[in-house]
Amino acid sequence: MNNLVILLVIIPFLASFLTLFEKYAFGIEKAPQTAIVATSCCLVLLLFLFPPVFKGKTIEYFLGGWKEPVGITIYMDGLSWIASFIGIVIGLVSLFFSWGEKKYEHKFYFFFLILLGGMEGAIMTGDIFNMFVFFEIVSIASYILIAYSKKTKSLMASFNYLLISSLGMGFFLLGIALLYQQTGIFSLRGIAGLKNQLIPNTRILNIAIISLVVGIGVKAAFFPLHTWLPDAHAFAPHPVSSILSGVMIKISFLAIWRIIRILDTPSLQHIFIWIGAFTALLGAIFAIAQSDCKKILAYHSISQMGFIIAGFGVATSFSLVASLYHILNHSLFKSLLFLSVGVVIYLTGKRKIDELAGFGNKIPFVKVTFLVGALSICGVPPFNGYASKTLISTSLKDYPLAYFLIFIASVGTFTSFIKLSRIFRGKINQENTFYKEQKNFKEKIPKKMIFPLFTLSALCIITGLYPETTTGLISRLILNEKIKTDLHFYSLSNFTGSLFSLIFGLSFYLLIITQKGSKVMNFLRKTRPTLNSSLLLVVAGFLLIVVFYLLTGKAT
């Protein structure tokens, strides 16, 4: 049983070798099939691991047989189970999509599989330095995948991401050095065990943890560190945007989660409420202003991460479950949205909303799946986004300001999705000759691209219709207990919240399509930080969080 845990990391790496080797040595071009088989093997392994993890057992694996502080340990607990599950499901679906798209060589699948294996390793490892190595694997694979199309914008997006993330990883190393200075070991549980002996030095310990958090936080894209994300996610190939938005930022956030929960620093955790609320608001505001359809989705990833982070910051068992539930839901519907829009861009080659308006009517199946995703992200019952957003805002009741910011963010979500849905409603602009020349768009969609859309929308509906079961499972997995939710998900008072944001969102949309509104939106679209400013923001973000901690840490 224990050996299955390590195979979960090794199988993607082995398969990635195969995708390179079978082409080179035998001339077989079966890279997508190899990748899909390997990922399915991982899924089966993961399902085998479910019963012991569900019983609350933490499977430990000592690499090379060296016990914890000496060697490296890999944990399979509830958190890593959920994270790997999300990663493998979204990875499998995106692989199917890229198989259907037929644009990619065998090298694409090589990078993709290494990205998958790296993410699993990063979330499962219990050693900080090993976490650093795995995060570097993840980030280097994603730099390459973002630049895969070799167009100017994607090259530049990849370069920006490389610089910002390397700066962040430098802070991560600084944090590791400080922790080693204080404790003399690298394993997370060992540090947590030693923490009680180091009470006079908890300040330095917390500062070290802040630098770890900032280092990974660049990948998790919260407020001052988010500037790389819109370009990188928008100009990557569609399956890559789906896995980056759906999984990679969450894995990074769950690594922060693991560090903070194991080292148990509640005063640090509370900062995340404010970071999360501001992130949600900013992401939503900028999303409204965009005209590129993938960029809207990318900004929404930032905004939804804000919801998740705010839920994590409250730090009650209820809000933790809510946050993890939203992680699961967000990865499902965000991948669905990216892939649906991806189909449209695949068929037309255009990506501005104005050029695409009304086109979606020609492909009714994609229209339906897009609708499922959009209603989920807006939080309309009975889709899954509704349930998790309700849980998060219920848990934020004690913090009125954060509650208010989150509410505005969900209004903004409505507005921008009304804007984005112009692709799928209204009449086609008749001047656009492109649509007249080519017909039969419906038949041009490969079957392999329809399958992932169908699976994801089915999962969205299922997790939305049975919120009690899903939250029950999650709380059993991460807390080993069943939380009591005296919340009726489908009650009238909760419906009204959703209705209010719909009304506000619609009126706000009517506001921004007026002339003055669109001027403001144009201004917002053009105000984006340059590379130098965003690099400066990373340093400033580190200082800000430290100052915030020093000011509030003593009070609590």
Partner: protein
């Protein structure tokens, strides 16, 4: 303690280079300086615990901590890989735009939108 101040100044110098230089190649060089300062920091932390290299021949006592040194090997390889990738991205960008200045490239990209 002097060594610590020097390491900190190297650290800050690297950050300053990354943040404020306009040329892509200079940014990459600064990134390498930044990474090197962290490598030196680790080695410095390890070196304070002893005086001789950790090669256990006979009559060797008071060796330094070998763990940071072993980890820094990994870290150096990673920083080399990032350098290689960043340089090739910069070359690719240079071929497309004919310039390495980040402000000019960004102006160009903003005009395209």
């Amino acid at each position: 303690m002097m060594a610590f101040y020097l390491i900190i100044s190297l650290f800050l110098l690297g950050i300053w280079g990354i943040v404020s230089k306009d040329n892509l190649i200079k940014k990459i060089i600064s990134l390498n300086i930044f990474n090197s300062s962290l490598v030196v920091l680790f080695i410095y932390i390890g070196s304070r615990t002893g005086s001789t290299a950790p090669i256990m021949e006979k009559n060797i006592k008071n060796v330094v901590d070998p763990l940071p040194q072993a980890l820094m090997l990994t870290s150096i390889v990673i920083s080399i890989c990032i350098m290689a990738l960043a340089l090739s991205l910069a070359m690719k960008v240079y071929k497309k735009h004919g310039t390495l200045s980040i402000s000019r490239i960004e102006n160009k990209l903003n005009k395209d939108e």
